[in-house]
């Protein structure tokens, strides 16, 4: 609404100015750009002001402060504290890009980044493939379709931490249901969360389980928007089911799938609860992703290393922004209007 109003006002105002000039009656010189923008768009600015203010407070300030902390040596012992009668001023200092140099030249950040990428790529690709299969299956008419749809959306409807805890019980090596079932079948128990490789597998499995409903629902919506005439025409031309999928369904889903892949990548990259609640990054540091490690710096080790934690946070932000830009570029070269 606001945008619309301002545009029409701008046009009208522009006309005024033009008329004024053409008359040449010695009016004062045209107002400066800023003043004109203000006088013309004041209504729009007033309307967006609260939003700008709120965003500034809840996103802008923490972001700026995070970037600032990453350029200092702030930790738990040198930040300002005021506890009862004890007043302790801040004594941390500006250290420039030292934290970034340390992070990018050390092995810890790069090692964690490697596993974070493996985790993101495998989670997103498996979730997408499963979601696609399920969406296609549920797009057909069959008895009890809505019941199936409901059941598949269930993981999404349960609060994340509840399902992650449920999985943690299932994975328990001695008392967990999974190993009891395996034991019943005469198979040795699997150290789901105790062996580094199995732990990696286990966290990915849980994240896929949590992520499939979203993919499925989004793709199902996309499928329903593909006109059925296309399928009918293809069938007339003798296209096989695979050809129909390859040349109608996939291109038809493109706008939806590119969006969900981007979203899912960003979410998975920063999927804190699954890792934290299942393994806390363990065993050792086998399943530690960038965000859980940043959390560890800031809340679990002592003295809490706020500087390093914010450095990692800023690096995560930069990586995701780079990803979004590159992704958009690639899509644009392929003809999507993003």
């Amino acid at each position: 609404m606001a945008v619309h109003t301002s545009q029409s006002v701008a046009k009208a105002a522009g006309d005024d100015v033009a008329r004024g000039r053409s008359r040449g009656t010695g009016n004062p010189p045209p107002p400066s750009r800023l003043r004109r923008a203000l006088s013309v768009h004041w209504y729009a600015w007033t309307m967006v002001a609260p939003v700008v203010l709120v965003i500034g407070v809840i996103i802008g300030y923490p972001l700026v402060r995070g970037v600032w902390l990453s350029l200092t040596d702030a930790d738990e012992r040198n930040v300002a504290r005021s506890i009862g009668v004890n007043q302790m001023p801040a004594t941390y200092e500006f250290v420039g890009a030292d934290n970034y140099v340390d992070a990018l030249t050390g092995t810890q950040f790069l090692g964690t980044l490697g596993w974070t990428l493996v985790w993101t790529v495998s989670c997103v690709s498996i979730t997408f493939c499963l979601g696609m299969v399920l969406a296609n299956m549920l797009n057909r008419r069959f008895a009890g379709r809505s019941a199936y749809r409901m059941a598949l959306i269930l993981p999404w409807a349960i609060p994340g931490f509840v399902s992650v805890f449920a999985w943690r019980f299932l994975y328990n090596e001695d008392r967990g249901l999974l190993n009891k079932i395996l034991g019943g079948a005469g198979v040795d128990g699997v150290p789901w969360l105790n062996d580094p490789t199995w732990a990696k597998f286990s966290v990915i499995a849980v994240n896929v389980w949590l992520g499939v409903p979203f993919m499925m629902v989004a793709l199902l919506g996309g499928l329903q928007s593909i006109p059925s005439e296309q399928y009918e025409a293809a069938e007339m031309d003798g296209a096989t089911p695979w050809q129909r999928f390859r040349h109608i369904t996939l291109p038809g889903l493109r706008p939806v799938s590119t969006t969900v892949i981007l979203l899912s990548t960003i979410w998975t990259f920063n999927m804190f609860p699954v890792i934290f609640l299942l393994t806390r990054g363990g065993p050792g540091e086998a399943t530690q992703i960038l965000v859980t490690q940043a959390y560890k710096f800031s809340f679990e080790i002592s003295p809490r290393d706020f500087a390093q934690s914010s450095t990692w946070g800023v690096l995560i932000l930069v990586l995701l922004m780079l990803f979004a830009v590159v992704y958009r570029r690639v899509l644009r070269t392929q003809g999507d209007n993003w």
Partner: protein, 423 residues
């Protein structure tokens, strides 16, 4: 000054209250009223389901002595309490008045300025009565920041029934532990030892047993990466690899307790804090089935860590006077005797050991000499920080992700980063 007078008045009032009537709470200093009021929030970290009930009852007993005080008992899981308290204390909101602070946390909290100094307040009473080892962790830079509540060490808990079935004796050394475990496995099919793999505190008795230590505070040197440290990592790795012990990288406490309580493992290394919970298990319906012995000796001898808990007062508390009095009450001889009797926890006051309840507890009797010879950690602010790097490497060793040598040197490196300027 005002506080000083109130403090003395409180001590006097408490002494009177303890005798009988407690009617006269008029301070000798002539101040109008020394009666305590307001709310005291206490964060307890004792084991839920067993210890917490007793502590809650005891804490509420304070209200009987001071009817105007409202004690709010909150049980915070031990594993989370350190971080929760730091979050709340730093934010200046939501922190309790009194916290049960583990011995290694106390100097750290004090260093961060979160704790109120207790010297000259009513919280400290009969200071000479406290065991020396217990009082050591409450001092930081010549001030007292906490009052010792319980003291503990570790021992081997064993299931006598399984031992009888397998025909084995309690292992005295780690070599014995391996043969005993093997016999138990052969005869009963059960695992010998449960070794917690997700908490480095359980590694300490092996480290001390090999003659190693985390750091040497007197020398300002990191010692965990010395050959003894490497040896200790080798010992625990060998115990797990050989099948003598089983471990977990997550949920260690629950898994340890339930497998021991259900008789799936014959032994665990644990401390007095686990006794009440263990005795609630199916295998220990007959309490006599639980045996406790010193931790198996390494090549350098027995070496159990000395631990315990203190009660500390948050510096930002709005009700300091009542908090001091509460701390005094919770660490008094009577309270300690009661926890010794009901929970088999070890008192920190010498005189409490003479009380009947403490004398009657076999477990207190067993742990008393163990505590006296237990290895004390240096009470520097960083002591509480030494576990985070250690547990990562410890779990890595147990799950085969690194070698003992690499683990020891990685731990040493992070300690040197933490302790600037140490060797």
């Amino acid at each position: 000054m005002r506080r000083g007078i109130t403090a003395t008045a409180l001590v006097a009032a408490l002494a009177l209250a303890a005798t009988a009537c407690g009617g006269d709470d008029k301070p000798e200093g002539g101040k109008s009223s020394g009666e305590l009021s307001g709310t005291v929030t206490w964060w307890d970290t004792s084991t839920v389901g067993s210890e917490d009930k007793v502590f809650k009852k005891l804490a509420e007993g304070f209200e009987k002595k001071h009817p105007k005080v409202d004690v709010k008992y909150v049980n915070v899981p031990f594993g989370e309490a350190q971080n929760k308290f730091k979050n709340a204390a730093q934010a200046g909101a939501g922190a309790p008045d009194v916290i049960r602070s583990e011995v290694a946390w106390t100097p750290e909290f004090a260093d961060l300025g979160y704790l109120a100094p207790l010297d000259g307040t009513s919280a400290l009473k009969d200071q000479d009565d406290f065991l020396k080892q217990a009082a050591a962790s409450t001092k930081y830079k010549d001030k007292t920041y906490a009052v010792p509540q319980v003291i503990d060490s570790m021992g081997v808990f064993y299931n006598k029934k399984i031992f009888k079935e397998a025909g084995v004796e309690v292992p005295a050394s780690i070599a014995d532990l391996k043969t005993v475990s093997k016999k138990i496995k052969d005869k009963t099919g059960k695992t010998g030892l449960y070794l917690r793999g997700d908490d480095a505190y359980w590694f300490l008795s092996f480290l001390y047993g090999e003659g190693g230590d985390l750091v040497d505070a007197a020398d300002k040197a990191v010692t965990v990466d010395k050959p003894q440290g490497v040896k200790a990592f080798e010992v625990v790795k060998d115990l797990v690899d050989s099948g003598a012990a089983k471990t977990d990288a997550t949920d260690g406490w629950e898994n340890m307790q339930s497998s021991f309580k259900d008789g799936k493992v014959a032994m665990m290394i644990n401390g007095p804090w686990a006794v009440a919970d263990t005795l609630a298990g199916a295998e220990f319906a007959d309490k006599a089935n639980l045996g406790i012995a010193p931790v198996p000796a390494g090549t350098a001898g027995h070496g159990a860590p000395q631990g315990g808990h203190n009660l500390a007062v948050y510096a930002g508390s709005e009700n300091l006077d009542a908090s001091y009095a509460f701390v005094e009450y919770m660490t008094s001889v009577e309270t300690q005797a009661q926890t010794a009797g009901e929970l088999n926890l070890l008192p920190t006051r010498t005189s409490a050991y003479a009380k009947q309840q403490a004398v009657d507890s076999e477990i207190v009797g067993f742990f008393k000499p163990v505590v006296e010879t237990a290895v004390e950690r240096p009470w520097i602010p960083e002591t509480g920080s030494l576990f985070a790097p250690l547990v990562t490497e410890y779990t890595k060793v147990l799950t085969g992700q690194t070698t003992p040598e690499k683990a020891a040197s990685a731990t040493g490196d992070s300690y040197r980063k933490l302790l600037k300027g140490w060797k």
